[in-house]
């Protein structure tokens, strides 16, 4: 029901408040008095009166019925009384009396019987009811038992619930911990990615520096070219002034560069730097050159009197960024060239017992497999994986020629005794002979197996193959003249400086020396404990004076044998941590450099 609010009292009420109270109080008093006299006194009385009234109403019909029954009974009683009085009058007839008595007796017996039947029935009913009662009691017990079972189960379930909530909290704790760990790991990851991005930025910077270097090289080269052209132009000027007529004649005969160069060379015979050879002038020019410089083009340019046995490592350098496959000392100086899977040929100088990096030749498109200096020491022939062979000038920025044609990895490239030729051996089962003046292949010799190394003598080319044979080829007739079998795959070949003996290294962990003059019979075999040929490209070499033979082993140890005695002279270990790929001996005999798969180059000597 809504709350009842009452009319607001207007301002005039407050004025009349004091006097208002009097009449209001009077009214209130009067109302209370009225209620007292009229209501309260009669309330309870009337209520109880009405209750009594109701009750009497209930009992009224009952009363009536009882009265009626009473009247009936009373009237029956009266009737029976009447019967009795009527029989009294016939007392004198004993027989009739007897009859009447008998009648009464039978009636009573009948009622007796009826009552007995009733008693029996009631007894049966009682038994049935008792049975039912027992049944109900047993059911009750059963239910109680079930109930207690249920209560127990309830308790058990409560406990299990508690346990599970405990476990839940444990799991939740573990989860929280794991979440924390996850967060810390994520932070670490974030840090690492940041470092990574910084590192990539650094690399990018390095690369840009390298690119700048290349750009500088290019610029230098361009400038060198320009300088050359300017120099040639300048030279031209010098020549044409005194002998103008001759110049014209010559220019009529042979154009441009060759004549000029010839002239230029003649006038500047001391400086033999211009390396561009022409076909016409080759032999004459060379003869002259040889005389002026005392270079021996047929034989070795240096003669080494004695090689010194290396005993200790002077320096270890991390020379490249990847495996180093080849190393070679220059034929005239202490310059070392190394090359490997990172496609760069690095030139080093040995100065005061240390390796100093000089320049690097970076134009190869794939990893370097072998390096060869020419007898003048100014050209390098580098063979690479992708079938290309690069001819470099030592100080140049770009290769002079790129000899392509092989379809597989070129394993060896050597200068032939005629400078303008080179011979290469490759996994595509060919040997190719190249003309270096034009940069083109002149001959191809098909071989039956992968060629792993090549050696060129005056008119002979010797190649080592995977099918465990060493083959000799006549380069004029391109025919195989001899075959020497060995016990394992040939990995490298090397000849002594006087071209008398051939050294082969093979995968059965042995080195064989073959005497070339005594019709190619195997003279000596070198073995050692612990010497294992580590790869298909392991190089073994003679020392420059031919007295020692050295090779690197798979575990990084350098082995040196004495050729004359056949015994192991030294095994130098501890510097390389991976398989040694190549060894090279300086032409002065002082230094040995070995390079390995672990990017390291070690300089050895005996002091």
């Amino acid at each position: 029901m809504a709350a009842v609010t009452f009319p607001a009292v207007s301002g005039s009420w407050s004025k009349a408040n004091m006097s208002a109270a009097a009449w209001k109080r009077h009214i209130i008093r009067q109302l209370k008095h009225r209620d007292r006299t009229q209501k309260y006194m009669y309330q309870d009385l009337i209520k109880s009166y009405n209750k009594l009234l109701e009750r009497t109403k209930i009992f009224d019909p009952l009363n009536e019925r009882l009265q009626v029954e009473f009247l009936n009974i009373f009237s029956d009683h009266l009737n029976s009384r009447l019967d009795v009085t009527s029989t009294v009058h016939r007392l004198e007839d004993p027989e009739t009396l007897q009859l009447q008595h008998q009648k009464e007796v039978t009636k009573l017996e009948k009622t007796n019987g009826e009552l007995a039947v009733q008693i029996y029935e009631l007894g049966q009913n009682l038994q049935i009811k008792q049975k039912e009662l027992e049944e109900l009691q047993s059911r009750l017990k059963g239910v109680e038992g079930f109930f207690s079972g249920v209560v127990k189960r309830n308790v058990e379930l409560h406990e299990s619930v508690k346990k599970i909530t405990c476990e839940n909290t444990n799991i939740k704790q573990r989860y929280d911990e794991l979440l924390k760990q996850h967060r810390t790991k994520e932070e670490e990851l974030q840090k690492i990615t940041n470092d990574l991005s910084e590192a990539t930025a650094g690399i990018v910077k390095l690369k840009s520096l390298q690119a700048d270097d290349m750009n500088n090289d290019n610029d230098r080269e361009c400038q060198a070219r320009w300088a050359k052209q300017l120099a040639s132009a300048a030279a031209k000027v010098i020549d044409t002034t005194p002998k103008t007529v001759q110049c014209n004649e010559d220019t009529a005969n042979t154009d441009e560069a060759p004549a000029v160069i010839r002239r230029a060379f003649r006038s500047a015979s001391a400086t033999f730097l211009s390396p561009i050879f022409t076909l016409k002038e080759n032999i004459l020019y060379k003869m002259r050159r040889v005389e002026s410089l005392c270079d021996d083009f047929k034989g070795p340019s240096f003669v080494c009197w004695s090689s010194r046995l290396p005993t200790k490592a002077l320096e270890i350098v991390e020379a490249h960024e990847s495996d180093i496959n080849a190393a070679k000392f220059s034929s005239i100086s202490q310059t070392l060239a190394t090359g490997g899977d990172d496609r760069i040929i690095k030139l080093w100088d040995v100065v005061a017992g240390r390796l100093e990096s000089r320049t690097s030749l970076q134009r190869s498109s794939s990893g370097i497999t072998s390096i060869e200096f020419d007898p003048t020491g100014y050209r390098i022939l580098a063979a690479s994986y992708e079938g290309a062979v690069h001819l470099w000038e030592v100080n140049a920025c770009r290769p002079t020629y790129v000899l392509t044609g092989h379809r597989h990895k070129v394993t060896a490239a050597k200068f032939k005794s005629l400078y303008h030729q080179a011979v290469t051996g490759s996994f595509d089962r060919t040997l190719k002979i190249w003309d270096l003046n034009r940069g083109a292949c002149t001959d191809t010799i098909q071989v039956s197996s992968y060629c792993s190394d090549v050696v060129s003598l005056e008119f002979l080319v010797i190649s080592g193959h995977h099918d465990k044979k060493i083959r000799f080829w006549d380069c004029r007739t391109k025919v195989c003249t001899n075959e020497i079998p060995v016990e394992g795959r040939v990995t490298s070949l090397n000849v002594t400086c006087d071209h008398s003996q051939l050294l082969s290294c093979s995968r059965d962990d042995t080195l064989k020396v073959v005497d070339l003059r005594k019709m190619n019979c195997c003279r000596q075999t070198f073995r050692a404990d612990g010497f294992k040929c580590g790869s298909d490209i392991t190089k073994a070499i003679f020392s420059p004076d031919g007295s020692f033979v050295t090779a690197g082993s798979a575990d990084g140890t350098l082995f040196v044998w004495n050729v004359k005695t056949g015994k192991l002279e030294a095994s130098l270990a501890g510097q390389h941590s991976s398989c040694v790929n190549a060894v090279t001996w300086s032409t002065s005999g002082e230094y040995v450099v070995s390079v390995d798969r672990g990017k390291k180059a070690v300089l050895w000597s005996d002091y």
Binding site: P7, S10, A16, A20, I28, L31, Y42, I46
Partner: protein
């Protein structure tokens, strides 16, 4: 304000102990016992006497039963007057309980209205409320109310629910703030005649009093006079029924009774109308002779 609420509650819950006796000439199967009942002052006879009828019908044969009507000391009681008014007018100074005689035959057509259905009572009740509001607010408040509010007023009275009734009735007791009270006060002044059996036709020297055409006095009366002063009960009587007032030097001849009490003559009419009205929003005032003892 709680005093005012108490007043309203006391007015609503006022009761009169009554004893209903069957008229001895009525044909009964057995002797009928009297029926006692506490009658609410603010209700109407035919609304609250269902139990009485049931009680007496138990002892009567159905063919003898006509419409029930009541009389007190020979006077047929008009059902459309509130019970409190009837008691104050006829039996206020007699011994309690109030003895009413119940008749089932010989309905006095000339004096009483028929009341066969509850709807009759509802219609009459609502018409009284509307008339009162016409006087108080020019019928604005009652006309703004919805049908359900009217119904609620009637249901509150029928079921004796104080809160239900006053939830709506309070709206009828409000007046705009700029006025000090209602427009006119709804009141009726009743008087019983000296002649016991004839409640109508008084002597001519009692001017302006009830006659058969006008059983009560009802006139327009403003609660606030021209000066802004609140009018009191005395002012009303002076205005409308000066006989009832005690003369300066004489003795008190009449009692001015509302709801069984005599309010002081200085009681403001506005307050009286707000708090001492019957549920039909009228102030039913009885003027009865002063009892001598």
């Amino acid at each position: 304000m709680t005093d005012d609420k108490d007043v309203l509650r006391d007015v609503w819950y006022g009761r009169i102990p009554t004893c209903f006796t069957l008229y001895q000439d009525e044909v009964t199967e057995r002797e009928a016992e009297p029926y006692y009942l506490l009658l609410p002052r603010i209700s109407y006879l035919t609304l609250v006497t269902d139990k009485v009828k049931k009680h007496f019908l138990k002892v009567m044969k159905p063919e003898d039963v006509g419409e029930m009507w009541f009389e007190y000391e020979g006077t047929p009681l008009k059902w459309h007057y509130p019970i409190g008014l009837l008691f104050d007018l006829h039996a206020s100074n007699t011994a309690l309980p109030w003895n009413i005689i119940v008749h089932f035959k010989n309905f006095p057509e000339a004096e009483l209205l028929h009341c066969l259905y509850k709807d009759t009572i509802e219609a009459y009740f609502m018409s009284c409320i509307k008339e009162a509001d016409a006087l108080k607010h020019k019928s604005q408040v009652i006309n703004e109310m919805q049908k359900k509010d009217h119904k609620q007023l009637w249901m509150g009275l029928q079921n004796d629910k104080f809160d239900q009734f006053w939830a709506i009735n309070r709206k009828l007791m409000e007046y705009p703030a700029e006025d000090l009270g209602f427009r006119y006060i709804p009141f009726r002044i009743y008087q019983v005649s000296f002649n016991i059996h004839v409640p109508i036709l008084l002597q001519a020297n009692l001017a302006g009093v009830a006659s058969s055409e006008r059983p009560f006095i009802q006139k327009l009366f403003r609660p606030v006079d021209a000066d802004g002063q609140l009018q009191s009960l005395g002012d009303l009587l002076k205005d409308v029924f000066p006989i009832a007032l005690t003369p300066e030097d004489g003795e008190k001849k009449f009692q001015v009774m509302i709801h069984g009490i005599e309010p002081l003559l200085e009681t403001p009419m506005q307050w009286l109308s707000e708090h001492l009205s019957y549920p039909d929003n009228f102030l039913h005032i009885s003027v009865i002779p002063q009892p001598t003892d």
